[in-house]
């Protein structure tokens, strides 16, 4: 009886990981599996751990079925589908006690590679597929689809949902549809005939995914660019940002081709490198188009000189930094939040930049739009600090919404009429005393013309080496940054009670922190939470730091970059900030945060924490 209750607890609450070989079609199999669970109304999280390789290296896909809607890795592994002989040994080790390992039993498995605290299930997938499909390629692809059938039987996944999805995917490819359906049936039937299905871990239909979509952050950001009215996109291909421009292109081809003329109301420019990509963005923005570039850390490194120009010459730009693992080439297909300092102070001299930190694809969409508005309002580069985890994984998130009353905020851009009314136009005179000056566009009127330069300039736009004139502009730029701090999206708080311990995080760490808060609370440790959404930091950020005695700064890099930025840019006492750091290349798990907090303030660790209210 007790066992049964325990079993029930694992319904819709377990983790499946699939180990395959890159380039064997497993990506579509895994997407199919995840989507079928989503369609059953059960919240689900998917993470793709793929190699920087086209074919042959090992790849994993982790699916967390989570009735509570947690979006981070839990740190557990209940079912491993070990399809890759090369990684079998370590895949076996990874399974949590009481879990299952499913493998292709076509070939014998060394008895040494076994464990007695887990259940091992062998399915002769290669044999089944070799008997039922022709051609080497087809047999490999179908073998991967067939394990979806096996899992469907073992986990009680609705076969109809799988068929429905396949019908949608292969609507116009009848032969592929038939083959896929057959492969699923093969796996499904074999599992049903040979094992007691379902296992202790089951998917039970729920109603918790209604009003939600499954989308990756790059696609959502690309859609944001479309809705912001961006017309020029320049880029140099780099993992993991490439799919953002792919998405923009595909949306534009559907939505931006003039129905009457057939002309394209967008321009996508694949540049020769990232230096040119950002140069193109600056040229286009300076000339009045909304322009952006998606890139990743190495691209930002190359863009530094131009970013300083954009800061000093006050040219809007939107840069999506889909962060990956550094330093240098690092691990291009793994995730990190290690470009915070790089972007906050990019380029030589006194520069500071606006950063937005989306936590999920939904925010990628809204912050993409916001980034264009802020860039034009502030006449400066704005970075959207996404990462590989957000950018390339499908996340379940609420339907994106759009207000049809939205119009782009072009900021202080003078119209021809306004220019003509002026006695004289000066580009950098602070008329409104908020640090933001007025700009004009080329082609307007001789009176509107001004000279943009990265060299020392006066508030009138002229060249200068005069100490006072130079300082006047530099000091105004500082004022502009203070104005920016008041325009940023506010931090999001989870105030769980009158606690003196807080957690601070940005971006994709959010899901793991939220789950950690629940776990900590269940263990009697009360912690408040602030998720910062932008830099420069607003007053509310300082207040939170002020109100808590111990603040854990959770971030996905080695050098505590967010913590550094907080100590540099707020009056917080440095010793109050404790780091919880995760930088392995996998996304952070809730377990990591719980352990970090408990190690310092948990039971018997010196500091007693107020009771949970």
């Amino acid at each position: 009886m007790k066992d049964k209750v325990k079993e029930r607890e694992r319904d819709n609450d377990f983790v499946v990981k699939i180990a395959t070989v890159n380039g064997t079609g497993s990506a579509s199999a895994n997407a199919l599996l995840m989507k079928s669970i989503f369609r059953m109304g059960v919240p689900v999280m998917g993470k793709n751990y793929f190699p920087s390789n086209i074919q042959g290296l090992p790849t994993w896909y982790e699916i967390r079925v989570t009735k509570d809607g947690y979006v981070a890795r839990s740190g557990r592994l209940d079912i491993m589908v070990a399809m890759n002989a090369e990684t079998y040994a370590r895949d076996l080790k990874e399974v949590s006690t009481g879990g299952y390992l499913i493998y292709d039993s076509t070939w014998p498995r060394s008895s040494l590679l076994s464990r007695d605290d887990i259940t091992i299930i062998g399915v002769p997938l290669a044999k089944l597929c070799n008997e039922n499909f022709e051609g080497v390629r087809s047999r490999i692809l179908m073998k991967n689809i067939s394990y979806v059938g096996v899992l469907a039987a073992l986990l009680d996944i609705d076969l109809e949902k799988l068929k429905e999805l396949l019908n949608e995917t292969y609507a116009s490819k009848a032969s592929l549809l038939a083959a896929n359906l057959k492969a699923i049936e093969l796996g499904f039937r074999y599992a049903q005939e040979n094992f007691a299905c379902p296992l202790a871990f089951k998917v039970r239909p729920m109603d918790k995914t209604k009003g939600n979509i499954m989308i990756d952050g790059n696609t959502a950001a690309a859609l944001g660019c479309v809705y912001a009215g961006a017309t020029v996109g320049a880029w140099y291909p780099i993992t993991p940002s490439t799919s953002l421009m792919d998405g923009f292109k595909s949306f534009c081809q559907k939505l931006r081709v003039d129905p009457e003329t057939g002309k394209k109301n967008f321009m996508i420019i694949q540049a020769e490198d990232e230096l040119a990509a950002i140069g193109i963005v600056l040229g286009a923005s300076w000339n009045g188009a909304r322009a952006f570039t998606p890139t990743s850390g190495p691209g930002i490194s190359l863009m530094n000189e131009f970013l300083g120009l954009a800061y000093y010459a006050e040219v809007p730009a939107v840069i999506f930094n889909v962060q990956r693992v550094g330093p240098s080439t690092g691990m291009p297909t793994r995730t990190q939040q290690a470009d915070i300092m790089l972007c906050a102070y990019a380029s030589h001299g006194d520069t500071r930049h606006v950063l937005l930190f989306p936590a999920n694809p939904e925010e990628c969409f809204y912050q993409a739009v916001m980034a264009f508005d802020l860039a034009e309002r502030l006449q400066t580069p704005v970075f959207v600090m996404s990462d590989l985890d957000i950018g390339m994984n499908d996340w379940m998130c609420p339907d994106l919404k759009w207000d049809d009353g939205y119009r782009p905020d072009r900021g202080k851009m003078l119209s021809l009429e306004e220019v003509l009314k002026l006695d004289k136009f000066f580009r950098f005179v602070d008329r409104d005393e908020d640090g933001i000056t007025y700009r004009t566009l080329p082609g307007m009127h001789p009176k509107a013309a001004y000279f943009t330069r990265g060299s020392g300039h006066t508030q009138y736009g002229g060249y200068t080496e005069d100490p006072i004139e130079y300082k006047m502009v530099l000091d105004r730029l500082k004022r502009k940054f203070a104005t920016a701090a008041r325009m940023m999206p506010k931090a999001i708080f989870e105030q769980r009670g009158q606690f003196d311990v807080g957690i601070v995080a940005v971006g994709s760490s959010d899901g793991a922190v939220r789950e950690a808060l629940d776990i900590l609370q269940a263990r009697g440790v009360g912690v408040n939470y602030m998720r910062i959404r932008a830099f420069p930091f607003g007053k509310e950020v300082e207040d939170f730091l002020d109100e808590h005695e111990i603040i854990f700064v959770v971030e996905q890099n080695r050098d505590a970059q967010l913590r550094s930025l907080l100590t540099l840019e707020t009056p917080v006492e440095k010793s109050k900030l404790r780091s919880i750091l995760h930088y392995s290349g996998l996304s952070i798990s809730s377990e990591c945060i719980v352990n970090g907090v408990m190690a310092e303030v948990g039971e018997g660790r010196g500091r007693a924490i107020g009771a949970v209210s």
Partner: protein
Amino acid sequence: MSYLLKPKVAHPSLPRNELGLTRRDYEGAMSTLCAGCGHDSITAAITEACWGLSLEPQNIVKLSGIGCSSKTTAYFVSGGHGFNSVHGRMPSIATGAYAANRELHYIGVSGDGDTLSIGLGQFCHAIRRNIKLLYIIENNGVYGLTKGQFSASADVGSKAKKGEANTQQPIDPVLTALSLGATFVARSFSGDKEQLVPLIQAGFNHKGFALIDVLSPCVTFNDHEGSTKSYVFTREHYHEAVHTDFVAPMKEITAQYPEGEVLPVTMHDGAQIRLRKIDRNYNPVDRPAAYEYIQRKMAEKEFLTGLLYVEPSQTDFHDLNDTPAGPLNQVPYEKLTPGSKGLQKILSRYR
């Protein structure tokens, strides 16, 4: 020193162009280059060419990188926007600017260091994209602002001011552009305004990337004996292969040319350039032949000038991208998004 403005006084007797503007209306701030600098002559030629074409000053967009040459965009057409960007990266700024608004006239001024060293990659890719940009290299073989280092265009054996001879092969922008498929490739000399002005005018009217490599001696660091980019050396080895006359659209062609020596080339907008072949056998519309001839004359140490190759390009960057006829930056927002209704449809793919 800060910002020098020339007094804007136009004498009533000054000639006016079709817009009623005088040459003074096409001037810019006071030059801060050395007295006698070739670049100032080029600035004067640009001013003259813009005035002669009756271009609206606000429709002229001036772009540059870094160096003595790049400063000059402040010294002409103060009624047009200017963007003095970073070293060697003007072509990318030009690409973006041109993408945003195809209706303006873009002129980029660069130097030999800016184009052939730090900016060689961007230079090549701007040609490859065929953006409509008049690209002028003010070429003096030397780094002026850092006081006299050889640039990538310095000839082998050419001597620096202190006597050191250059040993590395030069990169020739004209041959480079020809090999990359550029459709308007010219060479000129800052001291030959009669040649330069119509070349600039033709370049402005070319639908695509137009290169004019202008030898422009550096009077301070590279105008001595032993330099192959001095005034004296250039004049001694000067060889005009083909002379260009520019005839604006709708203008009557009045000049008389001897039969067989003139090659008329019609530009995309109906303007015409008439190429007077001084070297009778030279064919400025045959790319391989032009390449071979230029290379041979270089080996003979002749400084060959003129519109050395032209191909009226009909497909520039915007045509290749199938963008609308008007400026992209003026497409109304309503045409750019499908609104909340469209969003619902899009989202259905992600359920």
